[in-house]
Symmetry: C2
């Protein structure tokens, strides 16, 4: 019995399981413990805001379907949203939740023993948000250290090339993202409370379009104004109104079934200072030249080098990475933690990769951002969102 | 020079630092590494969506102010939002971000060495979302294992008793929460797309009231309908419209400066089935009796026992905890991970604690929720939100 809430056909999951097993086998891992919620969703379809307690998916090379474990009260969620057989869904008793006396990893160790997997070479998402030091030490104590391997981002790397079905959802997210950005730009006017513009943005993210309902995104609306634009990750001031002379940075997205299409733009209220216009012009020109360069076969670091070359004459310096892979995700990040556009990243671009080219500049007193989410195609790259590349001026 | 973006006076932070040092000293910790964003905010004021990369606050018993470290592009955010002296703010270069070659904890170990703190007894938030197994192993490798101690939830326990200033913000969040819940109940009507109701909720959370701007909350709007209410943490269906015969669970909140006031209610569209009405009546009666029992001096487990006694005659069984401490937080949880209302929790209630009494029931085919966020007062408990305790019927 397959659930009615699945958003992909079964062959999509078959392919994901097969490719993950291939990666496991290549790295000598017989069993993989996946606790990243995006990776759990990718392999099984599981979708719920239950990752604030320990949960996971256990995939063994010698089993067809993974096991899901989580809090008992979330087990029905796994039955509703995943393709897993009911016998593969394990709800643990509530006494394990944030306990000072026992630990969920004791439960997981027993599950591994029951399946005969306790002696197997076990891969763990060692550097993920959802795999704490204590989870590791408890498993180590329960199972013995020698069999524990680092599987950080293993499934993330499987995710990096998107299927046609995934690209369809990302395109739907892009349609939502266009409306979201237009909503933001329309709503930012001198005298308007910043929170009113942010509320419209958040509502637009969820409403989506007439055809495609939206989703709460993995990052809240990043829309700082004025001096708060001199840094990367602040948002609106809840008690302030926009004023003439404000710069407003917009780092927003559309999301569809947890698939994202991120986009950044910048608004200036009034007549912009000359150096901001100059920065904007330099960034936009560099952005266009870099997009024209992105295609299968070039490396991530070569893309960054092309960008650096394109802006060398402007004096703009961007000491941080200028992009990353994106797609399916949950809080706190829509980035995939795989490819980064920066020196040293040797990842070769392939068709089906989705990359947020994000040349954000934060100067001492304000910032400027203009980004593009792109799909790597057979012979180049395609902008997923059509939105003017410029500094938006509002009076 | 103090920042203009601070939301508390300096004596509030002085008290927090003093109490945290007291807890550290009691547990034999000379230095504490805090990576939980709510704990970072609590000690320094830091507020930004930058926790998707490694960052933290380092507090030493022998220093007045903690150090902040984070990504270089977020260092201005620390200058803007914290009370820390500029010399205490360390931005690390971008090559540490999600690197496959080095690790942020190498940077942190060097920071500790530079300060002469590398040999000190170091407390770590071992079981937090934000302290991965790899962070621990890297620090262990850099510093030697013997000095690493478990400080899971140490600052969370300091946070459990709220100051007057914090209670003021929680009351503001409560005012927002009332409007959010009313918005949800008004918006849920047969024929309306679920996403439209969710969009209104999200907008109301951010807009707040005329006096108090709201914030993006730590948990997305949990508002499942129909069969999706048989589990705890699903949300609206982006492509469905409400129908007569739907149960809709609403687990929402108001938030003010990251301080939350959570509230759960249940809506039924049409004439409710008898067993749902009976469940609702039993839960509401039990809720009222339990709130009347909550006061300083009783234990968390005694509250749960009182609740169990109150509903014993109804046949309703609730095998999970019925509440938890809440307050300041970021995704993925507004709960504080300290006090839980459940068997075995010996925490004694004290004035100033804020607790979400949350008796959610998930039956095989639907659920019912009716909760109250309360403040423990000198002689009892005070409901922070005034909202009818009932099953809401909409035609």
């Amino acid at each position: 019995m397959k659930s009615t809430q699945m958003i992909f056909p079964m062959d999509e999951y078959d392919r994901r399981i097969r490719r993950t097993k291939e990666m496991m086998d290549r790295q000598g891992m017989e069993v993989l413990l996946v606790v990243d919620p995006a990776n759990m969703n990718y392999l099984t379809g599981y979708d719920g805001w239950s990752f604030y307690v320990h949960q996971g998916v256990i995939l063994s090379l010698n089993a067809d379907a993974p096991l899901w474990f989580g809090r008992e009260q979330d087990a029905n969620g796994a039955r509703l949203t995943t393709w897993l057989p009911r016998d593969n869904i394990y709800g643990y008793p509530d006494e394990y939740v944030q306990s000072r006396y026992t630990h969920t990893m004791c439960y997981v160790a027993q599950l591994l023993r029951d399946r005969g997997w306790a002696e197997k070479r076990l891969g763990l998402e060692m550097d993920g948000y959802w795999f704490s030091a204590k989870m590791y030490l408890t498993l180590q104590e329960q199972l013995g250290r020698s069999t524990l391997l680092d599987a950080t981002n293993l499934v993330n790397w499987v995710r990096i090339v998107k299927s046609e079905a995934e690209i369809t959802y990302i395109r739907q997210a892009a349609r939502i993202g266009e409306r979201v950005m237009q909503t933001a730009i329309d709503g930012i006017v001198p005298g308007v409370p910043e929170r009113e513009a942010a509320a419209l943005v958040s509502a637009a993210q969820i409403t989506g379009t007439a055809e495609y309902g939206g989703a709460s995104p993995a990052i809240f609306p990043i829309m700082p104004s004025a001096e708060r634009t001199s840094t990367a990750h602040l948002t609106y001031d809840p008690d302030r109104r926009y004023r003439r002379g404000d710069v407003v940075l917009l780092e927003l997205c559309g999301a569809r079934y947890r698939y994202h299409a991120p986009l950044a733009r910048t608004v200036y209220l009034g007549d912009p200072p000359g150096d901001l216009e100059k920065t904007a012009e330099g960034v936009v020109t560099g952005l266009r030249q870099t997009l024209a360069f992105m295609r299968p076969g070039v490396t991530a670091e070569a893309v960054e080098a092309r960008w650096r070359e394109a802006i060398a004459h402007t004096g703009v310096v961007k000491p941080s990475r200028v992009g990353y892979a994106f797609g399916l995700n949950y809080v706190p990040d829509w980035g995939e933690h795989t490819l980064s556009l920066r020196p040293g990243d040797k990842t070769v671009l392939e068709p089906g990769m989705t990359i947020h080219f994000m040349p954000g500049i934060w100067l001492e007193s304000y910032g400027f951002e203009c980004s593009e989410p792109v799909l790597i195609t057979e012979d180049g790259c395609e902008k997923l969102i059509e939105f003017p590349q410029q500094l938006f001026l509002k009076a």
